[in-house]
């Protein structure tokens, strides 16, 4: 193979690469940038909210009185979990749509950005779950509880029947 032939092949490969790159419309590139910016902003918000939930969780010990005597916070946090789960599911669907879009390449970073947002949504959801549970535990300790009857270990049916009013 002569130097000229090799040079021609390299130039042809280079031309093909430039042609393929240029074929990607400017609109698509703009859409990618917008999507990445939106995902980065969303991921940042999810991370901040998860950190807030973790911080609130850590602060529970410092509070000695019941926090949620009417379960209103439990309900609100459960609703928040549902919303975050809905967002999580949408992000998974959109990531899959990105994977299926032949115009997108790995280098675009869209899939990685969706994956990061999904992980942050899960972290927030699970942090809220832990907070919700721990508020309940906290309030059990903070609320005077009558001792209630003690049952032998073999009398669990009696315990549950009494609790359920049967």
């Amino acid at each position: 193979m002569t130097t000229l032939t090799r040079e021609r092949r390299e130039l042809q490969a280079f031309s093909a690469s430039v042609t393929a790159g240029a074929a990607r419309s400017l609109d698509l590139l703009r859409d990618i940038e917008i999507t990445l910016a939106w995902l980065n902003r969303l991921t940042g918000m999810l991370r901040a909210d998860a950190e807030f939930a973790e911080s609130a969780n850590a602060d529970l010990e410092a509070i000695s009185c019941p926090i949620d005597p009417d379960d209103a916070i439990q309900d609100d946090l459960e609703n928040a979990q549902r919303e975050v789960k809905a967002l999580y599911d949408i992000l998974i669907d959109k990531r899959q749509a990105g994977r299926d879009d032949r115009r997108l390449t790995e280098d675009d970073g869209i899939e990685a950005a969706y994956t990061e947002a999904i992980a942050q949504a899960a972290d927030l959801h699970n942090a809220i779950n832990a907070l919700r549970w721990n508020i309940g535990e906290h309030d059990i300790d903070a609320t005077p509880q009558p001792k209630g009857p003690v049952y032998a270990a073999e009398d669990i049916d009696a315990l549950f029947d009494d609790l359920l009013g049967r």
Partner: protein, 93 residues
């Protein structure tokens, strides 16, 4: 993980009873069975016993991990503290 002591007696907090009564009957029955299994084996693998703090433990009540209950140990007496939904999702689906 440290195993809880063998359980010979059991009682429930008022909160546990209130929470239990709000749950669907199938979850109530799953909880009853989970507590029976806990007493029979203080470390029941299928219920994912977890030590949450120095004061209390949790077990998963249902196979799909939708509900958990927590209990404390006062000597050989298990004190049922709380039961409710437990929802965690995978961060790398």
């Amino acid at each position: 993980m440290t195993r809880p002591h063998p359980i010979k007696r059991i009682r429930a907090t008022t909160a546990f009873g209130e929470m239990l009564r709000k749950l669907p009957p199938e979850i109530q029955e799953a909880a009853r069975q989970a507590v029976k299994d806990l007493v029979a084996d203080p470390h029941p693998k299928k219920y994912r016993l977890e030590k949450q703090t120095a004061d209390y433990w949790t077990i998963h009540v249902t196979r799909n991990h939708s509900h958990k209950l927590s209990f404390a140990l006062e000597g050989d007496c298990a004190v049922l503290r709380k039961i409710g939904t437990h929802k965690e999702i995978d961060r790398a689906p």
